[in-house]
Symmetry: C2
Subunit: 239 residues, 2 copies
């Protein structure tokens, strides 16, 4: 039997070049949306509602009695309650609650994938690396590893995560894709020096000035929040 096909998409701008139908799309936004999503669900959040605008975040927060959250430039957006840091969502705070989250890059790609007819949409980040890999192998469907990037530009942290997934599950998939080949090679090259290496990335320099070094280091730590966020009827829930 033919193995399913896996591709890596390096920017939301490139998503249209790939077929999303009959495909599991993994939304990757390592710094920090998908790391925060995994962490909040791991710590017992009932559900996370990803929304693409601040207005929707406020409106849906009011409807659902949920916690509204989102940042721009490292600060909580005026009108919302919390930010985009995984450290803000310990079990003592988030357990059983609804989180309504708006982010710059990840949420946008998630809605693009849904509009493009993805069979299933999940979110991936180093904190839930193994859960993502286990799910993809079990599903045995075609896979798109979707890097959210930064305002549609390529970024390395999302690419490194795609490479980590490929490195773990490539035997189960057919992969003829230069993006995937590059992603895995960059991951292999840096998996043992991840903490120093991420200090050379543009996103690090963008967030470092807001004192977020600890957040960023957490966001490249594998399996510390190992659940599977699965999109179902508007919510991300543990799959």
């Amino acid at each position: 039997m033919n193995k399913p096909v896996l591709h890596t998409v390096l920017s939301p701008k490139l998503l249209k070049l790939y077929d999303c139908t009959n495909t599991v799309v993994v939304i990757i936004d390592v710094f920090r949306a998908t790391s925060t999503i995994a962490t909040a669900l791991y710590n017992g959040a009932a559900r996370i509602i990803p929304v693409d605008t601040v207005e929707k975040c406020i409106a849906i927060g009011a409807q659902t009695k949920g916690i509204t959250a989102g940042e721009r430039d490292g600060k909580v957006i005026p009108g919302l309650q919390y930010g985009n840091s995984p450290a803000e969502y310990p079990e003592s705070f988030i357990k059983g609650k609804t989180l309504v989250l708006t982010t710059t890059n990840g949420t946008k790609l998630l809605h693009m994938a849904l509009n493009a007819g993805a069979a299933k949409v999940i979110t991936g980040s180093f904190p839930n690396l193994s859960a993502v890999c286990d799910f993809l192998v079990k599903e045995n469907k075609n896979v798109l590893l979707g890097c959210s990037g930064w305002k549609d530009k390529f970024n390395l942290e999302d690419t490194l995560f795609a490479g980590a997934v490929i490195n773990k599950i490539k035997e189960n998939f057919t992969i003829h894709c230069d993006s995937s080949l590059m992603a895995e090679q960059m991951y292999i090259q840096h998996k043992d020096d991840m903490l120093p290496f991420i200090r050379s990335l543009t996103h690090w320099h963008r967030l470092e000035k807001f004192g977020l070094e600890k957040d960023l280091e957490y966001c490249v730590t594998p399996d510390v929040a190992n659940v599977l966020p699965l999109y179902k009827n508007g919510d991300l829930v543990v799959g």
Copy 2:
């Protein structure tokens, strides 16, 4: 004084994210358009007219008494005279002549860069690596290394060439760009095993079946056709 800024653009789809004005844009289409352009000019072609459609190629070929050339899927396009292989353009054939060339990816990106207001447009490939680097350093302007990709998808051969340029001239530029960081690291990783490595690329598998291995090996050989193709008033000429 501030150094000029260098960015790498991994697909034509991403060009709009960058500012082309006051910028030298390097069109990169290693397999094989920009390698063929360097070779034909190195071997004495009077000029190369890059056109984006077969119809224009035939019409401008008739107007200029030029040689018409272009391929799809490794074969000369019906209605045109020659293909897209650097080996087709030795000095004995091309010296003093006009070549009207249509290609899938490189020509398209070149016209996009012109429309976006690029200050200067040149073409780059391993056969003219040093000429490109010398020009960029001398110009001392902002630079976009524009990878043509394959039908807008990321490819590694163009990325490796961008990495080779960065590796040679990075001291002269300000570079804060994950695409450039990745490109240089992939180049460093593979510069000493380029011939075996390119056999793992998707484009190699696409063209190999047409018996083009020698072409592809030539296209990753540095400085064997070391001229600078510079766009002027519709023509690529030696700059």
